[in-house]
Symmetry: C2
DNA sequence: CGTGAAATCACGTTCGC
DNA sequence: GCGAACGTGATTTCACG
């Protein structure tokens, strides 16, 4: 379907992962191409949804989010999964939700204001149908936290 | 130190979290202000490092990253921590590393190509000084994965 | 597909309020 | 601190290779 990407595309993607607001003429200089060419490549990368979005990343510690936690949730009965996923979407303090192998059926990444709001969020989650138990690991410090994929190792997206 | 943010700043931040390349005139329209005012506010938000960076988000599934996993690592002896953190920085497939409460001393979020590269990464990590054991939870599906902070609940960053 | 030139639009600065 | 106007530079469009 989508054709492969060349080295130039990868360089552009690599740079945009770090500098999401990088200008087209800067990119053009880096890849030794004209501005319209870079523009066209970016348009295609966005159109193909290889780039799904651009985001400003905020410093969570500077806002009121003192607690980051990973919560393992056990959802019993797969008939309860769809409703569970729906309810997760309504909780903005839940940044991530993945179903996983191993103990627990889902892992959540949570950012919330304090122990109080954390406790309230947990009781809300535990009140949902099928949620039998949860285990929380609260983050003490973060040493690395990026969304940057090491695409130098990749060749052809599908 | 840093004064509080008003509703306008929060609206700008909220929008930039979703649209990292949003233009100043678009933002100006949303918040009913002039372009220079918005420009000035963005400059200050960046200067204060409330916005730490802008990033393009790529679709991991469309590249060659078939495996996402959360790995709990037990690092024995806090004298081994600094070296551990250093080595983590050198592993681009490790997207996140947090020290945590509960079992294991650190949790890692990993994205890698396949079971083969995953196994290799794990043995590399387990070979580091102080790393006694690890437990992996491989992601089956992801239902939510964002970096967006629910800053509507926040008022004053420090 | 890539380039170069022209038109359009966004951006940063300066000014007056 | 905000809004208006100017000058600069970035982005888009188009004709052409």
């Amino acid at each position: 379907m989508g054709k492969g990407l060349d080295e130039t595309d990868l360089t552009i993607l690599k740079h945009l992962q770090k500098e999401g607001r990088a200008q087209r003429n800067q990119l053009a200089e880096i890849v030794h191409l004209s501005v319209p060419s870079v523009s066209e490549r970016m348009r295609k990368l966005e159109e193909k949804e290889l780039i799904t979005e651009y985001r400003a990343i905020l410093d969570a510690k500077r806002f009121k989010f003192d607690i980051t936690a990973f919560v393992f949730v056990e959802v019993d009965g797969s008939e309860n999964y769809p409703r569970f996923i729906e309810q997760i979407q309504q909780e903005p303090e839940v940044l991530e939700c993945h179903s996983i192998t191993g103990d627990g059926s889902h892992i959540l990444k949570i950012r919330t204001e304090n122990t109080d709001s954390f406790e309230k969020l947990l009781s809300r989650i535990q009140s949902w149908d099928g949620v039998s138990k949860s285990r929380s690991n609260v983050v003490l410090s973060s040493f690395k936290e990026t969304t940057e994929l090491p695409i130098e190792k990749t060749i052809d997206p599908k």
